[in-house]
């Protein structure tokens, strides 16, 4: 079963609709047992880092997600969901994250640009990083994706950066990835046909 984690935050509807567009029967999961029973899991979310972690913890979902990730099953975070995969978040104070992809969530530098970073921007692979075996495999470098965020993930290991985008003089993490774990900082469910293709690949389907 494909699960979409419901922890009291986020645009669950959009993700479900995008999955339904592929005929994927995704269900909302809100308990550790339901998470454990999934074959693939999406962690969506908009809002502040601390609120997100509180929502997960109150439902015992933090440990369930860590265990799910450790099992090697595919897990995708979207926007705040991608940020929660990191070790710490620095939005309104420093907060502990899931630690599934070691790294920090930091504010986008404001020099010479507007923050939040809102709108369509291009996805590029960091030098030496391949998208093979990831949900981005069918994506052409330079494809546009829709972003809405003020913070981004800076992984401890640069190899965990799957895609970047440029905002003025700054390079922003657009996606993180390690094994079966993917964190989309942008919204694939709101990035038109290109985003839908990424979700389809995450679901294990071919393009």
């Amino acid at each position: 079963m494909i699960g979409v984690v419901d922890y009291g935050l986020g645009n669950l509807h959009s993700v479900l609709k995008a999955l339904a567009h592929h005929g994927a029967a995704a269900e909302l999961v809100a308990t550790p047992a339901a998470v454990a029973g999934c074959s693939r899991l999406i962690l969506p979310g908009v809002g502040a880092f601390a609120d997100g972690m509180r929502g997960l913890r109150e439902r015992g979902l933090d440990e369930a997600l860590v265990a799910f990730a450790a099992s090697g099953r595919p897990l995708a975070g979207i926007c705040l969901g991608a940020q929660l995969l990191a070790t710490t978040g620095e939005e309104f104070g420093t907060h502990v994250g899931l630690g599934i992809i070691p790294g920090r969530v930091v504010r986008i530098p404001a020099e010479a640009v507007k923050v939040p970073h809102v709108g369509w921007n291009r996805l590029v692979a960091p030098v030496g990083r391949s998208w093979s075996g990831t949900p981005l495999v069918g994506t052409v470098a330079g494809t546009w994706a829709y972003f809405v965020h003020s913070y981004h993930v800076v992984p401890d290991d640069p190899q965990d950066v799957l895609a970047v985008t440029s905002h003025g003089p700054h390079t922003i993490t657009a996606a993180v990835g390690r094994g079966a774990i993917t964190g989309f900082q942008f919204h694939p469910e709101k990035s038109g046909q290109a985003g839908l293709a990424m979700l389809r690949l995450f679901l294990g389907e071919s393009l």
Binding site: N11, H13, S14, K17, A18, A20, H21, V46, G47, A48, A110, K114, V115, P116, H117, V118, G119, W120, N121, R122, W144, Y146, V148, H149, S150, S166, H167, G168, H187, E189, K190, S191, G192, Q193, G195, L196
Partner: protein
């Protein structure tokens, strides 16, 4: 580099897309979902739906429209019109909208911006700002006054000062609608657009007056806007979104094609 966005605005009344001129008189155009799908396929970067229904039944109908639109398109969309509480914001966001646009209620109750930003994040909260040209005065140094209730009621607030205040209160974007140029398709009001774009650090959407692709190009270059809103010029079939963006690209504007 962020692309300049072309946003299509749809006014919805009793569940139907409608279009008025200078807030006077409306013509119903058709089903919002059909319009949403058409503009999605044409390459619109975003849509915004304004509920201009007066009745309670119409409002319930509007949430249903939001839900149906969310199932049909895979780009972001905002909704506005008559949103007066955090609960109401939650209803439309849960139905699938990305953002809510607050206009008159934000002027009457500025804490609504803060409450919305706290509950859903700044990125969810768009300030809709209707500005009207007036003689510059001590109270309104920019020469543009904030007006509410569809332009009928002056507020005594300076448009630039209100934009800055709204940003400080948690608005994540400003949709600036120039009342004087709205619906007449002679170009956006570049002066106030530039003043507000320079005064705030959040994205500014130019609205009111788009009639030709070069008007959008001017809004995002001379006007300094991050996005431009179109309505009449696409609803009546004069232009497709794709044609507008192609002309903007040819003029050197970075757009998603």
């Amino acid at each position: 580099m962020l692309m300049k966005r072309v946003i299509v605005c749809l006014d919805v009344r009793n569940g139907q897309v409608t279009k008025g001129v200078k807030f006077q008189g409306n013509v119903d155009l058709g089903d919002p979902v059909d319009y949403a799908r058409r503009y999605y396929q044409q390459g619109a970067d975003e849509l915004v739906f304004y509920d201009i229904t007066a009745s309670a039944e119409g409002r319930t109908l509007f949430v249903e429209v939001v839900r149906r639109v969310a199932a049909a398109i895979f780009i972001p969309f905002a909704v506005g019109g008559g949103i007066r509480s955090v609960d109401h914001m939650r209803a439309v966001l849960t139905a699938g909208a990305e953002k809510v646009s607050l206009n008159s209620p934000a002027v009457r109750e500025p804490d609504l911006l803060t409450a919305g930003a706290r509950a859903f994040g700044c990125q969810c909260v768009v300030l809709g700002l209707d500005a009207k040209r007036v003689p510059a005065s001590a109270a309104i140094p920019s020469g543009y006054e904030v007006v509410i209730e569809g332009g009928r009621t002056p507020t005594g607030k300076d448009a630039v000062a209100w934009a800055k205040e709204a940003e400080a209160r948690g608005a994540g974007e400003i949709c600036l609608n120039a009342i004087d140029t709205d619906g007449v398709r002679q170009g956006y009001e570049l002066t106030i657009t530039r003043m507000i774009a320079d005064a705030v650090r959040i994205p500014v959407i130019a609205s009111g007056g788009g009639g030709k692709p070069e008007h959008l190009t001017a809004a995002v270059t001379t006007g300094g806007a991050d996005a431009a809103l179109v309505a009449s010029m696409v609803h009546y079939g004069d232009y497709t979104v794709a044609a507008i963006k192609a002309e903007m690209a040819a003029a050197g504007v970075p757009v998603r094609l």
